[in-house]
């Protein structure tokens, strides 16, 4: 079952582009990575799904309900951690969390204690006195407090120290194991690679690729590095070869296509060394952006 269904979603802010003709599905129980550089439209997409802003055209459904007409119902089962957290400055952390909890039917006192212990949150401090990272921790507790079925994380790790990041990822994995679907937006590919099953890559408001991480790495591209005397970049002119870089007798390139074709080519050369690797997500990502 699809928890999120986005079809041809388009958003313009006046004349400036938000996202254009974006379509994708997120299945129940998966961790979907949404990657792209700053300004690509990641936050716009999330805000549309939360009905903070309204689409110019196209539609989106969450839990099978239209986000424009059923936003209130949908938000009952959603947790959201924005990239920058802002809360009522004058309130204490504990009051803010209780206030947030008061909008949901279930009693979450127990869970509030567990989560804040885990994130080492000081409950009696004022929001205005908190550092950026501590505000983020409040955001994590607040977003998870009501045991949502769907989590939107928008660049969630910024401001968290590495130890907290690890705790946070463990927490997200645990939630996911309980059946929570996660929509994870980020430009840090390492964390997406660690956590997600599938990724969508967005660039300048348009989806350029949707694929599961494994097949993105395995089937799409190979990273080849070849060392041999007198090898030139021009020797590797072949369909499917990209990103050719030559340096001091070592040539590296990406290859997509029938691996036999490139092996045949290599067999005719005199080589000192060859390696064939799966590229990191980072390299694939950079490839999409060039």
């Amino acid at each position: 079952m699809s928890v999120i269904e986005v079809s041809n979603l388009t958003k313009y802010y006046g004349k400036s582009r938000g996202i254009v003709d974006v379509s994708f599905d997120v299945k129940e129980g998966e961790i979907f990575g949404f990657i792209g550089p700053n300004g690509a439209g990641k936050s716009t997409t999330i805000r549309l799904l939360l009905s903070l802003i309204h689409p110019t055209s196209g539609s989106a459904k969450v839990f099978g309900k239209d986000v424009v007409t059923h936003g209130t119902e949908i938000r009952r089962d959603i947790g959201y951690l924005p990239s920058e957290v802002f809360y009522y400055e004058g309130m204490k952390v504990i009051d803010l969390l209780k206030y947030s909890a008061s909008f949901f039917p279930a009693d979450s006192t127990q869970r509030m204690r567990e989560l804040s212990d885990l994130m080492e949150l000081e409950m009696n401090r004022r929001i205005s006195d908190l550092s950026y990272g501590n505000k983020k921790k409040v955001g994590i507790v607040q977003g998870l407090l009501h045991s949502p079925k769907l989590l939107f994380l928008d660049e969630p790790t910024s401001g968290l120290d590495p130890l907290m990041q690890r705790k946070f990822f463990d927490l997200i994995r645990k939630e996911n194991a309980r059946g929570v679907t996660v929509f994870f937006s980020s430009h840090i590919l390492g964390e997406v690679q660690r956590l997600c099953n599938r990724v969508g890559i967005i660039r300048e408001g348009k989806i350029v690729e949707i694929s599961d991480i494994r097949s993105l790495q395995q089937n799409n591209y190979k990273k080849l590095r070849v060392t041999g005397e007198g090898l030139k970049a021009a020797d590797f002119k072949l369909a499917g070869v990209t990103n050719v870089q030559s340096d001091n007798g070592t040539t590296s390139f990406f290859f997509k296509g029938d691996i036999n074709a490139v092996l045949k080519k290599l067999s005719g050369m005199k080589l000192d060394d060859v390696s064939i690797e799966e590229p990191s997500l980072e390299e694939i990502f950079m490839h999409y952006y060039e």
């Binding site: 802010y13 805000r47 939360l50 903070l52 802003i53 309204h54 936003g71 209130t72 119902e73 938000r75 009952r76 959603i78 959201y80 924005p82 920058e84 957290v85 802002f86 809360y87 009522y88 400055e89 004058g90 206030y99 947030s100 008061s102 909008f103 949901f104 607040q142």
Partner: protein, 264 residues
Amino acid sequence: MNIFFRELRANFKSLVIWSVITALLVVVGVAKFSAYYGNPESLKILDSFPPAVLDAMNLRAFNLTTVIGFFGIMFVYFGLLGAIAAAMWGSDIISKEERDRTVEFSLVLPVSRNRVVTAKALAALVNCAVFVLVTWGFSLLMVRSYKPEPGFYSFLALEMEGMFVIELIFLGLGLLLGCAMKQYKLSGSTAVGIIMVTYILSVMSGLQKNLDFLKYFTPFKYFDAGEMLRSGALGGGYLLLSAAIVVVCVAAAYWTYNRRDLYI
């Protein structure tokens, strides 16, 4: 209810500040009044003023040496103060969520925008009511040392009703500006600008006969203290007009807030 109570708490400081302002207005006003009280000689100064100025300040309709007369003149200031406070509360209570960037929290909670506007409007309404009561209470407190003429207390009550209706009009306007304007920085200053323009209109409409039609465009002319004293009631036609303005503003506020993109 949780939004309503949170807003009451968040706005408490502002309510206290405005209450101090209105209390000061009454205290300082009455202190000045003590110079005129029962002293007809003092009125001679006013004879040197041009009639237009006297009209603009409503000084001809009332006898400044009586408590009723004095509060008749004070009504303009009560109205202005109430209008400014109500408009600020109305616009700020909506737009501050965007200014402080808390919308990404408060409107991701499972609440409809209608419910948010309703709860906030009610909280601002409570503020407006308390503001009138504080003004009323301080007025009663300060006139104790004088001997108000018969009819003063019912006249003061009528003035406070008038002040409340003016507050309602500007509360509605403030809410509409807060809901409709994406440029949240502008909503408060636009509200004050509208108050200034309507106040100037109310002064102008009294200056010349052919500008008389302007009185329909300025809530400050809907309830004239002199007229209230004569008739002992608020004008029914103007009450209806006020109600219509409030209903239109509030309906438009809900309508626009539901449709527009939140500014993040």
